[in-house]
Amino acid sequence: MTVSRTTALHFGTLLVLIALFFVLPAYHVGAFSRIMVLAIYAIGFNLLFGYTGLLSLGHAMFFAAGMYGFGLSMNFGGLSVLPAFAVGVLAAGLLALGVGLLALRTIGVAFMIVTLMFAQTFYLVILYFGEYTRGDEGFIIQQAQRNLAGIDLTTETARYFAAFTLFAICFLAMARLVQSPFGKRLVAIRENEERARMLGYDVGRLKLAALVVSGLFSGVAGAAYAMLFGYVGASFAAVHYSIFPLLWVLLGGAGTTIGPLIGVIFMFYLIDISSSFTNAYMLVAGVALVLLTLFAPQGIAGTIRKRAVSWLP
């Protein structure tokens, strides 16, 4: 029975997201478009961190690879939306493959730092080629170009449903993936890497696969962000954007399917609401983080699973 409950929860979540479009005022509809794109990023991060137990501090490079792959191939390659999107996702996947081959030689804290360093190198490279990338200032993708088969992606409705479609695909694909044998093997690695190896699984290949899939999802998020909001900038490759997915996933609940979405919504509105009455919103965010680690260590979804709904996926 758990299977159908899980499916019901996932489709219920998606239905709520559709309903929100008709219920929410315009400002929040825009906010939710952004939240869904960022949630794709968090879902990708969650596969690596929540399920495989690998903490990367450099995921911003995959997000940025998707973003720049999309933006640069449109601006300089003259590609239209779909091929450019493919280029962005592919760039992120290839980068993840390369980084994985090198960084996965290390474990634990060294892995964190190596990914951080690679991401920093990537960020600096973007700044170094400022002639094309416009560095920190970034560049804008013209409204006329952001057009998919006659649909203008800049209108609020098209943007919301484009974000929703991408989110739904990624969300369901990931929910499926973590229940598959592949997903179970990743959890086995998280729980006890030695034992997984003794059982005959090729741990190195599985970790690399997890990193590449995680990088692809991040690339989708990055390309989608550029596509829907029309801006490409180096700040998305900076350290903050590697820390954010960690926060979202930890707040929402690592290793749960809906945790990433909850985490992004929570963080987004925490900063949004607190910045409306104080300009020290980072202080509020900091206090919230400390309180959550003290009182809800498994994140929101993780705590719900522990306290009330044990079947939560």
Binding site: T121, L124, L283, V287, T293
Partner: protein, 308 residues
């Protein structure tokens, strides 16, 4: 200026960077070594040190020397107490869990940064150095008239920079003495090697942790007090020292204090020298990438042992 004197000037800059870096990284390394936690807020303790140094020297006034000496004595203790408070209030309660500590210290980072912004403001403020005489340095070369000593224009060092280097070395010496020759050091090393066994032998592990966390933050603050006459106090100044200290600790080998010192000197010197001769961005790209590659092919760091 010729290449030789130029290189010497760059090396002196590098030595000053190394001196500050070695103190900051030492703090991070001790905390990691003994408590096995990654303190992301370490850079903010550095920043607090600089801001408090400005506050103390402004409050005291008079000759720059008084304020500076007072800051040197008071500020590390003050920052250490704040850090010990953070340990008691937060880290102890989450039982030093590695992942949760990272998130909690990110929270602390935001809190400290924003509080400083609100109370101290966004300006960068300088602290006057207690003494700052410029010493010209000689250079030797073989010219047409054989071996001779010349005084190239621009080749000089300030007494304050020399003081920073000497101060860092003496603090390191004291630290080495405390860690290897006193009972405090013995207790810390016992806690590091086996927390439970140490507890069984009557070591108050929780108190040791608070002291160690305070000591780590105090070292960062000390580095900041020393740097603030050269570099101004600003509420965002904690980012770079954090990243550099991290690199140093990892490259040196986690928990290895001699490794930390060697790596700090290596990275400080190369930072000083590279940024004099190359485009800063390109230099940073090369340096960051090389650090990553060192880790990829020697994950245990330069002096670390392979985990059993």
């Amino acid at each position: 200026m010729d290449f030789g004197p130029h290189l010497m000037l760059a090396s002196i800059e590098g030595a000053v960077i190394s001196a500050i870096l070695v103190l900051t990284a030492m703090g991070l390394s001790i905390v990691f070594g003994v408590m096995r936690v990654v303190n992301v807020a370490h850079g903010e303790f550095f920043m607090l040190g600089a801001v408090f140094a400005w506050a103390v020297s402004t409050l005291i006034g008079g000759h720059a020397g008084f304020g500076f000496v007072a800051a040197l004595l008071i500020v590390p203790v003050l920052v250490g107490c704040i850090a010990a408070g953070v340990d008691q209030l937060i880290l102890k309660r989450i039982d030093y869990d590695v992942d949760r500590t990272i998130v909690a210290t990110i929270g602390v980072l935001y809190i400290v940064q924003q509080s400083t912004l609100m109370l101290y403001g966004p300006e960068a403020r300088p602290v006057a150095p207690p003494f700052n005489t410029r010493l010209a340095l000689p250079w030797f070369e073989f010219g047409a008239d054989g071996f001779q000593m010349i005084w190239p224009w621009g080749l000089s060092v300030t007494t304050y920079k020399l003081f920073v280097i000497i101060a860092a070395i003496s603090v390191l010496g004291m630290l080495w003495f405390v860690l290897t020759r006193t009972k405090i050091g013995l207790i810390m090393r016992a806690t590091q090697q086996d927390r439970e066994m140490a507890q069984a032998f009557g070591v108050p592990v929780n108190r040791v942790y608070s002291w160690v966390f305070g000591l780590g933050a105090g070292l960062a603050a000390l580095g900041a007090v020393l740097v603030v006459p050269i570099q101004q106090a600003h509420y965002l100044m904690g980012g770079d020292p954090l990243l550099l200290a991290f690199i140093v600790v990892i490259i040196g080998g986690l928990g290895s204090l001699p490794g930390t010192v060697i790596a700090a000197v290596l990275i400080g010197m190369s930072d000083g020298i590279i940024s004099v001769f190359f485009s800063p961005t390109l230099a940073k790209i090369i340096a960051t990438f090389l650090v990553a590659m060192v880790l990829v092919f020697r994950p245990q760091g330069l002096m670390g042992r392979v985990a059993a």
